[in-house]
Structures are given as structure tokens and as C-alpha cells.
Symmetry: C2
Subunit: 560 residues, 2 copies
């Protein structure tokens, strides 16, 4: 009864749309289509919660319903703790979740406090009321591959004419074939579990399947030669696939992997066994399973490195396969191929580019379709953005309040009014709301994973070139600056995704209600927020960031 | 040449007084009268710095000189890293110093980053440009004793008619006799070092000296009977003094101690030795010194506990004498008397009361004297505040830009316009600036140690009654809220005072330039900032805070 999802429509229960947006986004997190266990207030990611307790939840809602346009509500680890007069240009809600003083900043102390009801795990978008379900996954993979194409094949349209070889068609990895074909490329993906393959075929995430590697190669090479997109699921163990490719002296353009190599017992399958044989072995002799599994992983990484040596572009896709074979098989050269963040995401971050999302508060799908058109109209030259929007409309189903994810850059140098891409987009949407072409306000928010919003030495800030991975001044400045710029909700969290004590990160929401106040806020926040990405990476010495700063007139005082 | 102190006078080099205030306060930190090693950019507290390097310092100054009224400068660990358009009601400078992701939040990693030039230790007021020298010490002691008086002797005027027995007349402890007499009380302070006693007499921090305990007691009892303030330095070891007091069955009203008991070899003196005998022993046989020193400490604590048992009010004054004898002499009952923060400072924090300071940007001492008068006019009934102001004028010499420290509470319930005491004061000063009675703007700032601005389990948040000592959501919300309320500088630091990884704390400045904008900002910030103290302690369940919230109309959503 409590968690039926967000109120929809154009009537509001709060004093203004900014407060109403907070209320709807909080409830959207707990929509049964969106959140994982709304009955426990759990949104996603282990125990990532939207509020500390049902009591706290009720009081947040009550507070939001009466909050004035010049008041600010304070939420401390999912509990409303204060409410003060500020002003219109300030946020309506300020949130701090799971933050601990450094020496006590670990799971043990967190759990002690949690058991006393004094704290809550906010994850990234759970406690900041910005989770939108799994719609974001396909988009991140699409954008990562697009960046790989830009770097390595700058003269092609995306991945056109190239062949990507990967493995793993599970929950995350299943997005790979579609993400490749959306970038015009050809994909061969090894997967041992035929059921998984069939699921991808049914949902059009993958086009063909075969267990004959020669057939896979023939199909792939023919399509690549024609410049046609194609995806082929190859029913085979990844390590065996690489052995066969070497035998045939075939070298793909890109190699990567999304098998669940991070877990050698429950995630990864050893070569020489069918899935059911593997499951039997896992039950009866887990030790042998692990040994065989790690041996296979070693072959698998040798295969990737061999392809890299022969000219393929290789990267790890966040499954820790490098760490596994370095640790358990003493492979010295395991880390000779890079992780995906330093390789593909960081160059985007350097330019202030990151994933953001917008949500139609009306609940009306046609409002999102109108925004889809607006993005395409605004950026007629961004071909892969158009492909993304078209394919998303076609393939990605809405969950909860209709929403869309996309990546836009800073690039204010390209605009006569010196506006960033995100700002141009937000102002256009705000106009459409004002003109009544969109039926109710739209809220723009993002992941905590963004260009200038996170310090996370194991993921987003891994291997920064100056060694500043763990410096947390940056996310704090990000939150203070977006508060100064007039975001409507600002949040600061500890640990999301990588666990308590391992990261600090922030989020913000801007409500586009068609007013000139909203335009003012949008113009500023969508400059300061991606701008933090540019200056953070410029400070670390990244050339792309210094370039972007120069081209887009971003002030970097020590370099100006 | 670089560190000659702040520019003074009524002419400015920046675009506005808010930017000019930042520039002057930064330079004031580095005034040779104020900062400890300005040539190294070190302000105080070990290596607490004002800027990361001279290059960074120069660029901060250049940036401030051209910063517009709607721009915000970002300073990351003492280095200017960005500058963005915000708006007039937002801060002009945002600062984050020494913050690290939890798992890396320790001195080792800090020093590694420091050696690469990537971070700086900001201490509390050093990196936030709010240090004013040692003027603050006497005031903190005065206020602590005033609170002890309020709690234990509510019917007296302060400590009138009471006798306080303590020891240690060093750098900090030497403020005790004056702080007692300023509260109308009588003080007997044991000190083994006659030179120290003489220094206190010369500077009028203490009135009488003797080495005869019977004379000390006679003088003290006579003055107390008359209700006269009196301070007597007793040239004697503290442990011996307590033995003698017990023999005479004398019980004082208050007992405490500020010998340097935290250091058993270099700070504390063993009984049975003169100072020079002690120094000889320390050189020749440090092991025996430490044994004798700890034995004396044990007698000393037994003395304090005996007085407490017989009815005296006892508290530890931050010198860790309880910890020493618990650890090294297995005294089980050492912690039977409380520390001063939980005992006296926390009740003030519960009511949003904490130390803040204001600085005359003109450099003109008469401007501060005008503010002194204003405080007294505004709060005619606050007798101890009047005493403090009078004595400060008389005894506390200015260092750098003239400034004053004082404690005011929340207490908006007492005001017809629902303004807090700090807000009433700030608005009055702002009027005086507008009327030209004060020659240039005044900036109001504070210590990071304040009611709702710090998480520090070893000091300010030690032994919170709900166990939330290490929860750092609070200082983060404090910084975000003060940014929202329109403070002119906002800062967030890690570690000041207690070391990297041990605390998180914030500061803010508000520039009173006589404008209506300044009035608006002052009204809001001096509500939100002390208000955080009220709600933080209300959330932890402190009765005083819940009372203050009810009386002063502070919203505590879960209790409203
Ligand atoms: N890039 C990121 O940001 C990111 C984020 C989350 C997770 N990951 C990692 O990506 C990996 C995949 O995630 P998922 O959610 O798809 O996992 P999943 O467990 O749902 O899918 C893994 C798939 O790999 C297949 N597989 C296992 N071993 C194989 C082998 N040797 N050869 C061929 N197929 C094999 C399995 O049958 C399964 O279908 C995980 O390690 C995960 O931790 C990356
Ligand atoms: N309350 C706070 O917030 C706070 C802040 C800083 C320091 N402290 C602590 O307060 C203590 C005093 O600080 P300080 O700066 O005055 O130190 P200090 O070293 O300057 O002075 C200590 C004095 O105690 C005297 N002394 C030592 N042993 C004695 C004995 N047995 N009997 C009589 N006199 C004795 C010494 O002669 C000296 O004059 C320290 O332990 C310090 O850590 C408290």
C-alpha cells in the first residue's frame, strides 16, 4: 500500500513543483517496477535504501507536502532532521547518507550504527531518490563502445566494419551484442549457457546463434565487409573460443569480456564441461571446480593478451579477470590490458561528459517521446545519439515514471551563447514545458558516477595520472558548488557501489517547470556540474581536460 | 614581503567587499602577529596552512581581485582550482581541505599525497582563513566556567561565593584564574614553577601568590564569604595540595586541572622534587621520572575523586589525566569524573550556543570597540557577557585585524522578530556599518568547533548519548545548509586539531557590509548555523536541545 509508486498527472499535493518532484522521485524509487524490495524500503544494490524507516518516510512526505518555496528540508541518512528558511535559488532538499568520520568509516562501525537505527546505506541513486531501474545498463555499454570507436576507429561511423569479440551474455553482459550493433559493428559473443543465449535472441539483444566457430566467423566477416551490423552468440567456452581463434590466425578489432570472472566458483565456467556438468562438479567437488575455473581463466586472459599482441584493442570490463589471474595464477602480465574506466570513460569525464537522465513527472510516456525529439532536433549532427534515442524508443521499456538516459558533453565553445550541451538541452525542455508541449515538469538528474562528482579509487578514480585517486575534496566541492548554483536536491553519500569507506559521491536534481527560475538554475547547474569534471581532470593534468577548458572557456585559475 | 598581514582601510582592491573580505582574512592568517610561520604559509596547529604553495597563494589573490559578485571561486586543499558563475546569494569562495576517501583517510596516505603536492593540511581555521591568534583561549575558559556555574550554582551570579581549586598555570591553564574571577569566583591554582606564577601575576591573569596553603585557604575563604573575586597561585605540587586539603577537611566547590598530564615525561611534575630537581631527574633517569610522575598523577586523581565524593563538582579539562592513570596505574574509577565537553560545552551546543568571532576589516580598533558597545546595548541583561567584553577590552590585546570572540545562543523565542541572538547581533553590526558608525565592513566567522559543525569522536562528539559520535552526515549538512543560506565563504575540512581521519568539520564567513543583501544573509546563516547544533543534539535525544527547539521554534520534523 505504501509503495505503489509515484503519484502521476498534472495536479500536485505540494506547495510547488520542486517539492512535488522530490516527493514523486522518492516514491518512484519505491515503485514495484523500479525498486527491488520496496516493502523494506530497499531500492537496489544490496541494501541501498530510499528512507531509514517507514516512520521517516512518512515524515519526509509530510514535510515535503508543506514545505514552502523558500524552505529547505534536511535528510540525514534517510531521516528528516531539520527544516530551515533559505531562499528560492537554494535547494529544497539537502541529503547526506552513510557518511562517517574516516577512522570509523568501515562496514563494522556502519553496521553497529545501523543496528541502533542511527544510519542508512544510501547506495548511489537509492538514497538520493534518482534510481530508474535497469534502463541505464544498455546505455552505459553503448556509450563505452562508442568511445572505444572514437578512439581507435575515428574514421568509421562508430564500429562500422569492425568485429568485437567478447563473452558472457548475463544480466549486464547481455547488453553487449546490442550495444555493438547500435554502434554499427559486428559482435561475436561466447556464452556457455544456451538458455542465456536464447533469452538474448528472444528480446532482440542478439541476432544469431551458432555453436560452430567457423560459421560465426564467416557470418561476422561477411557482415563487416558489407559494413552491416550483426551480432552472433557463439555457444562455447570463452577460453576455448580464443584457442580456436588463434589456431585460425583470426584477429578481431576489439576484445573484451563480461563473464562473471570476479567469482570463480559461482560465476565463471571451466572449459571442458557443459553447464550441467559444471553444476554437478560445483556441488560435488568445489575445490576441483575452482582449480579448473582458474585454469580456464588463465587460458582466457592468455587469449585476450595474444589478440592484443596481434593488434586487437583489448580492455577489461569491470569483472576483475585481471586481478583474479594475477592473484591466483601469478600472471605477471595480466594487467597489460587496461580497465574500461581509465581507457574509455575517463576521456569522456575529462570533457565533462557523463550519463544523465530525465524523468517525466506527469507519468506520461508521450512527454518523454517529445523530449526524445527535442534532443534530436537540438543536436542534428550527433548521429550516434540519434541511433541511441531511436533504439531506446524501440527497445527499452519504461519502468515507473517514464525516463530517458543519455550522455552529453560540456562543449560550450560550440554554442553562440556559451551554453554547455546539458544546459542547451535542459533549457529546451524547460521551454517545452512552458509552452505546454510537455504536460508537466521534467526533472533532470544523474548517476553519482559522473565526471566531477565522485572519488572512488577502486572504480571511477582508479589510476588517476597524478595519483590523486583518494582525494575527496572534489565531490565535496561538487556538492557545495551545485548547491550554490541552485540545484533543487543535492546529496552527498559514502560508499555506493564499492562499499562503505571506499568512495564519496554526490548527486543533484533540477526541476524544469517552465519558469524563468528553472531556466536560471538549469543554465548554472548544467555548467557547474559537468564543469567540475573538466577542472578535476585538468588539475590532474589530463590533456583532454585542459583542451576542453581552453575551448569551452572553463576557468582553471592555475592554468589560465 | 609576502606576509605582511592584511591590507587595511576603507579602499578595496577587489570588485566587492565579499571578495575583499576573503583576501584580507587570508592575509590576516599570515600576519606575523597572528600566524606562527607565515614564511612557510603555516598558520598554527602543527602544519595547518592557509594555502598550498606561494604560487597557489598568488593565484588565489589574483582570482579574488577579479572575481565578480555572481562568481564563486573553488579552493581544493589550498589551491584555486575553478571559478564559476553562480549568483549573489551564493558564497564567493568554497573550500575543501584535506578530505580523503575513508579507507585512505590517514596520515600515511595524506603524507604521500602531500609529498606530491596534491593536498594540504587545513587544520580548522588555518585553511578556512579564520584564525585570529591566541585571543580565543581565555574566552573559552571563561565560558566553560560560566556554564559550570549555571549548572551547579544557578542562584549565584556566576561563581560568586564559590571556591575553585585547580592546577597548572601554563599557556592554556594560565587563563584559569582570570576566567574564574571574571565569573566572580575565587580560585586557588597549584603550580610548581614559580616563574610561571610570576608571569601570570605580571599580566594580571592572577592576583596573589603564596607557598603557604593555610594562607591560601584563609584568603580564599574570606573573599568567598564576602562574595569578592580573588585568585591565588599556590606554589606547590597539585598532588600534595590535594593531600593537604584532605588533611584539613577542606572541600572546594569545583575541582579541575590543567597540568600537562597528557605527557608524563615532558609535561607533568612529580611530587617531592623542586622544578630544577625534576629537570635533573628527567635528564639523568627518565625511567624513574616517569614512574614518579605517574605515581603523583595517581595521588592527584585520588585527590580529585576524594573531593568529588565529599561534594565538590569535578571535571577533566582536556589533559587526559583520567586516561593516563587508567592506562598506567589501572585506576578503575579514573573516569568517575566527566570530561569538560560532555559536561559543560555540550549543554551549550544543545542550545545552539558556541564561540564565534568578528573582525574589523578596516583594521581600526575603534570599530571593534563600537561592536563591543553594540553587544552590550543589545543584551543589557547578559551580565557575564558584559563582564567578558569589559575584561577583554582591558586585557586581551589585538593581533592582526582587530577582532572579538564571544558566545551567543539561539534563543529566537526571546525575540519579537524570532531572530536568534547571533542574528540580532549581526543585524545590529550591519546597521552600524550602513550608518557609517563603523568605518568598514565587519566579517563574522567562527571556530570549526561549534554546536552543529563538527563530527569528532575524540573531542566535540565524544560520548554522544545515542552513540552517534562518528556520524559525519551532520557537518556535511551544515556546510550545504550554510551554502544554501548565503554564507560568503564555506569550508569543509578533515582532521583539524585531532589529526587526519579523526574528524570532519566546517566553517563559514558572513560579510556585513551594511547592505540589505548582507542583512538577508546574516538573518538566514545565523539561524541555520546554530540551528544545526539544536537539531543535531535534538536528534541524539538531548532534552536541552528538544527544549530549545520547542521554545525557539526550530523544526525537528520527527518530533514536531
Ligand atoms: N562494467 C561495469 O561497470 C560492471 C558493473 C557491474 C558488474 N560488472 C561485472 O561484469 C560481469 C558480468 O556481469 P553480469 O551481471 O552479466 O553477470 P552474470 O553472472 O549474469 O553473467 C555472466 C555470464 O557469463 C557466462 N560465463 C561464465 N563463464 C563463462 C566462460 N568461461 N565462457 C563463456 N561464458 C561464461 C555465464 O554463463 C553467464 O551467462 C561480472 O563480473 C560483473 O561483476 C561490470
Ligand atoms: N581544554 C582544552 O580544550 C585543551 C586544549 C588544549 C590543551 N589542553 C590540555 O591542557 C593542559 C595544559 O595545557 P597548557 O598549554 O597550559 O600546558 P603547559 O605545559 O604550558 O602548562 C602546564 C603547567 O602545569 C605545571 N605542572 C605540571 N605538573 C604539575 C604538578 N604536578 N603540579 C602543579 N603544577 C604542575 C607546569 O609547571 C606548567 O606550568 C595540557 O594537557 C593540554 O593538552 C586542553
Amino acid at each position: 500500500e505504501k509503495y505503489q509508486g509515484a503519484p502521476m498527472g498534472t495536479e500536485i499535493e505540494c506547495e510547488g513543483w520542486r517539492q512535488e518532484a522530490a516527493l514523486r522521485m522518492l516514491n518512484n524509487n519505491l515503485d514495484p517496477e523500479v525498486g527491488e524490495k520496496p516493502e523494506d524500503l530497499v531500492v537496489y544494490g544490496g541494501t541501498g535504501r530510499a528512507a531509514r524507516s517507514w516512520d521517516a518516510y512518512d515524515t519526509i512526505l509530510e514535510s515535503l507536502r508543506t514545505l514552502e518555496d523558500d524552505e529547505t528540508l534536511l535528510v540525514q541518512s534517510g531521516k528528516p532532521v531539520g527544516r530551515f528558511t533559505t531562499h528560492e535559488r537554494a535547494p529544497r532538499v539537502l541529503i547526506a547518507n552513510s557518511n562517517l568520520v574516516g577512522k570509523w568509516d568501515d562496514w563494522d562501525h556502519f553496521h553497529e550504527l545501523e543496528s541502533k537505527g542511527l544510519i542508512m546505506y544510501g547506495q548511489m541513486t537509492a538514497g538520493s531518490w534518482a534510481y530508474i531501474g535497469t534502463q541505464g545498463i544498455i546505455q552505459g555499454t553503448f556509450e563505452t563502445l562508442a568511445e572505444a570507436a572514437r578512439q581507435h576507429f575515428p574514421d568509421r561511423e562508430g564500429l562500422r566494419g569492425t568485429i568485437t569479440v567478447t563473452a558472457g551474455l548475463g544480466g549486464m553482459g547481455g547488453a553487449q551484442p546490442l550495444a555493438v550493433t547500435m554502434n554499427n559493428g559486428v559482435c561475436i559473443a561466447a556464452e556457455v549457457d544456451e538458455d542465456r543465449i536464447d533469452r538474448r535472441l528472444e528480446t532482440d539483444y542478439c541476432m544469431e546463434k551458432t555453436d560452430d566457430i567457423d560459421e560465426a566467423l564467416e557470418l561476422a566477416q561477411a557482415a563487416a565487409a558489407e559494413g552491416d551490423p550483426l551480432s552472433v552468440a557463439l555457444h562455447m567456452n570463452a577460453a576455448e573460443m580464443f584457442d580456436e581463434l588463434r589456431e585460425r590466425e583470426f584477429v578481431p578489432d576489439i576484445v573484451t569480456d563480461q563473464t562473471s570472472a570476479h567469482d570463480e566458483l559461482e560465476g565463471y565456467y571451466p572449459a571442458g564441461y557443459t553447464v550441467s556438468e559444471s553444476e554437478e562438479l560445483r556441488q560435488e567437488d568445489p575445490e576441483t571446480y575452482v582449480k579448473e575455473s582458474l585454469d580456464t581463466m588463465e587460458r582466457h586472459v592468455e587469449g585476450i593478451l595474444a589478440m592484443q599482441e596481434r593488434g586487437a584493442v583489448a580492455f577489461e570490463y569491470g569483472n576483475n579477470i585481471r586481478g583474479q589471474v594475477e592473484e591466483h595464477r601469478n600472471m605477471d602480465d595480466a594487467f597489460d590490458f587496461p580497465g574500461f574506466v581509465p581507457a574509455y570513460i575517463r576521456p569522456l569525464f575529462c570533457r565533462g561528459k557523463g550519463p544523465f537522465r530525465w524523468v517525466a513527472l506527469s507519468g506520461d510516456e508521450s512527454d518523454i517521446h517529445r523530449t526524445d525529439d527535442a534532443v534530436k532536433e537540438l543536436f542534428p549532427e550527433k548521429e550516434h545519439l540519434h541511433r541511441w534515442i531511436d533504439l531506446a524508443q524501440d527497445q527499452v521499456s519504461f519502468q515507473g515514471l517514464p525516463s530517458r538516459v543519455c550522455w552529453l558533453g560540456y562543449q560550450s565553445g560550440d554554442d553562440p551563447d556559451d551554453l554547455t550541451e546539458r544546459a542547451r538541452f535542459a533549457l529546451r525542455i524547460n521551454d517545452l514545458v512552458a509552452e505546454g508541449e510537455i504536460s508537466a515538469p521534467v526533472v533532470v538528474t544523474r548517476d553519482h558516477l559522473d565526471a566531477g562528482s565522485v572519488a572512488s579509487p577502486n572504480r571511477e578514480t582508479e589510476a588517476m595520472q597524478d595519483g590523486s585517486d583518494a582525494v575527496a575534496d572534489w565531490p565535496i566541492l561538487n556538492a557545495l558548488l551545485n548547491t550554490s548554483a541552485g540545484a533543487d536536491i543535492v546529496s552527498v553519500h559514502d560508499g555506493g557501489g564499492v562499499g562503505i569507506g571506499n568512495s564519496l559521491h554526490t548527486n543533484n536534481h533540477v526541476v524544469l517547470d517552465g519558469s524563468s527560475l528553472a531556466a536560471e538554475k538549469a543554465r548554472r547547474v548544467f555548467t557547474t556540474d559537468p564543469g567540475m569534471g573538466v577542472i578535476r581532470h585538468a588539475d590532474a593534468g589530463y590533456e583532454e581536460a585542459l583542451e576542453e577548458a581552453a575551448e569551452s572557456n572553463v576557468h582553471v585559475p592555475m592554468a589560465d
